[in-house]
Symmetry: C2
Subunit: 133 residues, 2 copies
């Protein structure tokens, strides 16, 4: 497994490992929120991936998006490559609901709230079941 940034380890939990990406749950109970982290060294941008990996990335985004939509009955999905603070390439996939705390605005306009231990474990298990871990 490719080494991941310490920021990811602190703020997120491993769900599963796909062919290209590690999938991690972001510890923010305000939104069902995962990140896909390509297991490639020294990559900060999508265009730095090889073409084969770029196609794998979009396929894993599609796969993860469908699961997130289904598992959390999402009204919409936000799929975002930001990376202004943690440079290692990672794609946010966030299940949005019309009743969530920042709807219809971006998730970035509200502060995070960490999960309780029980809800965190339940959410990890729910996702691992969906990803067939």
């Amino acid at each position: 497994m490719e080494k991941v940034s310490k920021n990811f380890l602190k703020d997120s939990h491993l769900i599963t490992e796909l062919k290209l990406c590690n999938v991690r749950l972001i510890d923010n109970s305000k939104f069902p929120w995962i990140i896909l982290i390509p297991k490639r060294k020294n990559i900060t941008d999508i265009f730095q991936l090889k073409k084969k990996d770029q196609n794998l990335l979009i396929q894993e985004i599609v796969y993860a998006s469908k699961l997130m939509k289904k598992v959390f009955k999402a009204f919409n999905l936000n799929v975002e490559k930001i990376g202004n603070i943690v440079y290692q390439l990672h794609i946010h996939v966030i299940a949005r609901s019309k009743k969530d705390s920042s709807w219809p605005l971006s998730v970035w306009v509200v502060k995070k709230t960490t999960y309780s231990k029980t809800t965190l474990n339940k959410t990890i298990l729910k996702l691992q079941k969906a990803f067939k871990v």
Copy 2:
């Protein structure tokens, strides 16, 4: 050309038409900011595109990202599918600089400022030159 949402027509300007997407400049002088709009009907999510179009989308994101990085000497690129307000699928590609008005936060935390007519025209021409229109 596929009909585009009225919101796009109001707040953005056509730069060029790629194989899958129309490319439009967002009228916000705070950030060099384009959107890619797949020319397909009734699509709100990446996973609703056919697999061939999904691969085309990532290739056009890569192509547009490289141009945005070069033309605006971007430190980083934000690539985002949000669509909470305008549902028609569109991908934001935003050139970020460490000196821009919301760095290192998301572009969504600051209000937009429209371009002056002169700067708007210059920016459109600069992009059209880069996209070889």
